[in-house]
Amino acid sequence: MTPIQGTNDFVIRFANVNGSGSASANNLFAKAIFRMGIPVSPKNIFPSNIQGLPTWFEVRVNEQGYLGRRGGYDFVVAVNGQTMRDDYEGLNSGGYFFYDSTRPLPENYQREDIIVIGVPLTQLCNQEISNPKLRQLLKNIVYVGALAALLDIELSVLTDAITTQFKKKPKLAAPNIQALELGYTYATDNFTDTCRLRVRRSDMLTDEIIIDGNSATGLGALYGGATVVGWYPITPSTSVIEAFSSFASQYRRDDENNIRAGIIQAEDELAALGIAIGACWNGARGFTATSGPGVSLMSEFLGLAYFAEIPVVLIDVQRTGPSTGMPTRTQQSDVAPAAYASHGDTKHILLFPSAPKECFEMAAQSFDLAEQLQTPVIIMSDLDLGMNDNISKPFVWDDNRRYRRGKVLSGEEILSLPEKWGRYRDVDGDGICYRTLPGNHPEAGAYFTRGSSHDEYAGYTEDNATYAANMARLARKWQTARQYVPAPVVEMHDKGIDDAMIFFGTTTQSAMEALDTLKRDHKRFNAMRLRAFPFQEEVFEFIHDHERIFVIEQNRDAQMRTLIINEGNIHPQKLFSVVNYDGLPITAAHILKSIETALSTAAAEPETAHKGGSQ
């Protein structure tokens, strides 16, 4: 048996019981690696439960900076009796099985291809920790201490982190550090040179930060000038609102300590979006955050905002559907429903952030876009990005940047117009009309906003030609939107290459890793990362430049592929689908295997491939 070896390249899995205080210990571990300058990607795989059910925390450490989920694990901290058997069986051959040896391993744990590391966590705590209330919690810190010894993590990084964490409660720092040292000493004394996995300080990370996408989004909304929030609690979006509230309570205080934001927990998702729409209609920047089930409920209001042309921002932190689905697992399965949400002919702007920096930037930009285009803008994040800590380039803000409030006329401006103002008159030819805000002027600018059919002057109409003209103008506005939304990123576009991948959002990390692997294997692929819907012309040009396009996404029905086919009139045979929909983040291995399968199938049916390529 060969033990797995490696420096700054392994996956460690923590198997815990939900609600046992393991999350902060596991985060401490991940943060220590981050602070040693090593790319790290922690992923919380947790149940829809508050206490008692199994939860896993998977940390990938990778010097090369591959931060997508890798799949498999080389080291497991198995401290949950409920799942210990599975955790044991699932460990990679040559891997390390770490358990609480206060109780011996059952006799049927007989794998010979792994290394077993037993540390009596409970016993150590019972002997050494005087406060019985703390023992359970500190058991988690003891294993972090032991890991530090086994993996060569600098102990000072951990003790510094604890000291910082308990700055406000210094009394708690001492027992935590004691627990850390307990584990460290025990592992040093008993398991010298047992573990061949190593962590070594690196210069891969310099000015990076590590932050969850939802905090980044909340911060972006703060910088984007959002003031009114309607929201309803739903995993995994709730922490967007919590972050915004927390930032607002710190950075949006007036001289009387009142807050420059109105945050309302609504009775349901319908009301949450209704509140945001009412605020935006009245000239504030409003938003809500939700997940798939909320988007279903909000469809009615999305249609109103589309048709009445009210700016609004909706943050969809996607989770596994359909229906309640798996509330605490990830997916990119709201793409098609969000794009066309609501009855009648409706289309919505979608933005696809792939990292916290983009969450921040797109959240701030979404308010500009919504007001410029006078329509809903939906940010399509997901649980993996939103709730996990992700390494990110630092956020920046340009103090010269000004909010773009779009076409808004004051009463004075209306009075000075040479012709009669109409709320839905397209005078510029871009499909975007001029709106007014309530309360602005005694004589000019009042109009009646409605979701029923209206003419250019906002009057109710059932005149068929007038209705159709308005719908055609909305389609014109949609074309205009293509110039406003973030452009796709061409990751690679070399000439003479037939194959390409298209991906977006959290699929990016694993897709880029797969791209590197393919390159090493001398298989040449180009790649484009989508950042918004509607698609720009360059998306379709990119597709036309290739024979075969692999659209990689995290849902069963290849929703993005459908959207591309539909919007670009692309021949379906040209677009191959790579999907992952089990609720866990997609891996590079899965992408590579899917591409290989598709290519071999295509090779077996040359005619089909040819037809597809001839488009």
Binding site: E256, E267, I275, R402
Partner: protein, 350 residues
Amino acid sequence: MTYRRPTFRHPDLPKNERGYTKREYEGGISTLCAGCGHDSISSAIIQACYELALEPHRVAKMSGIGCSSKTPAYFLGKSHGFNSVHGRMPSVATGANMANRDLTYIGVSGDGDTASIGMGQFAHVVRRNLDMTYIVMNNGCYGLTKGQDSATADRGSAGKKGVPNPFESIDLCEVAIQLGSGFVARGFSGDKEQLVPLLKAAISHKGFSLVDVISPCVTFNNTQQSTKSYSWVRDHIEATATFDFIPLMQEITTEYDKGSATSVTMHDGSILNFYKSDDSVDVTSRRAAIDALEKHREQNQILTGLLHVNEDLGDTHAILKTTQSPLNALSEQELCPGAATLQHIIQKYR
């Protein structure tokens, strides 16, 4: 046939304190059925706003869907209006009010829009104590879809089709009192004398005010067997107490017999004077107000007038401690913490 109101204005029309004539509070021509109670309510709203000398453009008219929700097109033509989606006006009004606390929000809804599809939103806008006046044009039926019973139709009441309603009815006033509304009143579209001061007081109230107005549907629910017909309501109406509403700006000219009147000072300094009869209700008590509604219900009577008032409640902005300036008027400097602060913030994530 054209539906245009002549633009000609008589030069000698009387003006209110702010210099507006009553005409300046009017809206478009109604497209509701001739004799619809809702038109009388629109006209009472016009009268109330004129008498309160509101600046028309500082009013925002909010509504849902239904016959009632169309009416904001028929009054206050110089105000912005928002005809939203069915049963969802309260949330849109909440957002609008959060964005600009300085405007006057008048919401118009119906019994279907409020007591059925919008019951959830109605309940929660009351709980939030949003500073708005919520007017229900209550006819006990769905007019736009041809007369189906609504949730406020009394058990046993029958509309045009003659089938008695088998379900219990919802008393929106009682619900609103129970949910903590600080101003609850009931009027009758056929009694403008009572309705106009009720509306004036409701609009002057700081926080959520409900005015539930029985408004017969002449086309579908004005039958002998209907408890929301003109004749039934006229025969069974009862009032809590007569009262005067004295807006802040108005000079008090009448002398009152102190012994017979109780006064409530409104948030803006206006005064409500009640002239009690022996069996009249203490409208400042929530419990007494609910008792009075139940008592009259047992007696097959509709209790109207001001049912409950409490001027001590803070509105949503007070509860949330939002800044005094309208949120939609804050400058970028007040909203955006800037580049240097951002670097400070992200330092926590290193």
